[in-house]
């Protein structure tokens, strides 16, 4: 790993350099909007806000950045600076050809776990630009909790994409390329790079252990009736789908006649089953959606944030997807070259999972 240690305030220079030296044609970058954080798409390096670090590390989650560039199969190169889960989603989208490997430069930055935009805006002062685990617990005591998706996230540290930005002690960051593309991009900025090897295994394990504990504590469903109850308030607005970075269909099955019966079809259905609930198909919709994203779900929790009825969808999507990913020993977003579980197989496997 080739990288360099910078002061946090030098990050703006780095991003500017990437734009100026044409390592990227534009950058998707978080910036501060009032009390909160949002993404902007920057063409001109001079427009990069300072201090960039406070926005990059800010524990706030609005939209998943991968969702912004989803479907951008353009020849120009976009740089994306985002949290690891967002970069992972982008990598899954590369596998799904919703963006091209060559036209995105993925930069992941350490994440401490995040609050919803709303929570962050309300408590920005208290939360600040970074939370460590002590702070998280302290805030939790005050009823300000990080998102469930973040609490159960095992991969908060930047380790995916082309370039990683790690927070190191003393107000510094470590910037390093982890792919050829990342290395090239960094070199073009004329930073002096040297071999860096930072051992964060222990830290990673701790995060994973904590996340697992949190996961255990989440309430679980054990029957389809409980699922029904869980989804009682669902209005089938499908916001969860729209905000999901890895839901990539041009036209969702549930917008098509078979998935969204109207008129005569609805009457036919009602005749067949005497009565049907309205809106129709919520259960089928959610179960199908879990299946559709079960290998690619990066656990970002965007679905839950998007739900207007405050259904804790993290317990449905990331939690179950993780179980599926475990049987395939697959971690989404690790490597753009790794095949998706459904297009590969081993001659002998999974026989115990079939009956």
């Amino acid at each position: 790993m080739k990288g360099t240690e910078l002061k946090q305030e030098d990050l703006e220079g780095l991003f500017k350099g990437l734009l100026d030296k044409k390592a990227v044609d534009c950058l998707v970058l978080p910036h501060k909007v009032g009390n909160n954080v949002a993404y902007m798409l920057v063409k001109d390096g001079d427009k990069i806000e300072s201090p960039a670090a406070s926005a990059i590390f800010a524990p706030s989650f609005g939209v998943n950045a991968a969702n912004i560039v989803k479907g951008w199969t353009i020849p120009e190169r976009v740089g994306i600076v985002a949290k690891p889960c967002e970069i992972r989603a982008a990598i899954e989208l590369i596998k799904l050809k919703q963006m091209d490997k060559e036209s995105v430069l993925l930069i992941s930055a350490d994440c401490s776990g995040a609050f919803t935009n709303q929570d962050y805006a309300d408590h920005a002062g208290e939360i600040g630009d970074w939370v460590d685990s002590a702070k998280i617990n302290e805030l939790k005591g005050k009823g300000i909790a990080i998102r469930e998706a973040c609490a159960i996230c095992e991969n908060r540290l930047a380790d995916v994409g082309d370039i990683i930005i790690e927070r190191v002690d003393g107000g510094k960051v470590l910037v390093a390329g982890i792919t050829d593309m990342g290395d090239e991009a960094l070199s073009s900025t004329e930073l002096s790079l040297e071999d860096k090897d930072v051992e964060r295994q222990a830290e990673k394990e701790k995060i994973a252990a904590d996340a697992k504990k949190e996961k255990e504590e989440l309430p679980k469903m054990s029957s389809v009736e409980e699922l029904e109850e869980f989804l009682r308030d669902c209005i089938a607005c499908k916001n969860c789908r729209d905000m999901c970075p890895v839901c990539y269909c041009k036209e969702c099955f549930f917008e098509q006649p078979l998935g969204k019966p109207v008129g005569g079809d609805l009457l036919n259905l009602a005749e067949l089953r005497s009565a049907i609930g309205v809106p129709t198909n919520q259960l089928l919709y959610h179960l199908t959606r879990i299946y559709h994203v079960c290998t690619t779900c990066v656990g970002c929790g965007a679905c839950e944030d998007a739900c207007p009825k405050d259904i804790p969808l993290t317990r449905l999507y990331p939690l179950i997807a993780k179980k599926v990913q475990e049987i395939f020993e697959y971690v989404p977003g690790e490597d753009a070259e790794e095949p998706l579980p459904f297009i590969t197989y081993e001659e002998e496997e999974l026989e115990d999972k079939l009956r």
Partner: protein, 142 residues
């Protein structure tokens, strides 16, 4: 496992591939192997055509069990359709497990010469599902 529910006759939907399991069912027939009448077979060309949505749909429709049959791994008429199917089914059952529905889905590799195995699996499945009782979604308004 609790005892079979009195008088409950489960409805089982079977998806079978044309080349192996459907032929295995035919062989069960030609060799007059009796098995419980709970199954309704839907013929697909390959277990690879089994869209897990079919299973979800039919479970939500109230089917008490879903059977999926394909060629033995390595013997697929379409070379690897059943390898993909196996991954899909494994994923699907992992999801269903969270809602206690996985025991209602069973898949088996049954070749054209395994008429007996087909009949045996049908028997076992009917018994297992009788013990599970009716699908809770059976009389739900969806």
């Amino acid at each position: 496992m609790e005892e079979a529910k009195e008088g409950f006759e489960p409805k089982i939907i079977g998806f079978t591939c044309n080349w192996c399991t459907y032929a295995g069912a035919d062989l069960a027939g030609t060799s007059r192997k009796k098995y419980p009448p709970n199954i309704r077979i839907i013929r697909l060309m390959c277990s690879g055509r089994l869209d897990p949505m079919f299973v979800l749909k039919v479970l939500l429709n109230g089917a008490d069990g879903v059977f999926i049959g394909g060629c033995h791994p390595g013997e697929c008429h379409y070379i690897k359709g059943n390898f993909y199917a196996r991954r899909r089914i494994a994923a699907l059952r992992t999801i269903l497990k969270q809602f206690g529905l996985d025991d209602r889905v069973r898949s088996e590799w049954i070749s054209a010469s395994e008429g007996d195995k087909f009949a045996r699996v049908m028997k076992e499945m009917a018994e297992d599902i009788k013990k599970l009782g009716p699908n809770p979604m059976r009389d739900k308004i969806l």
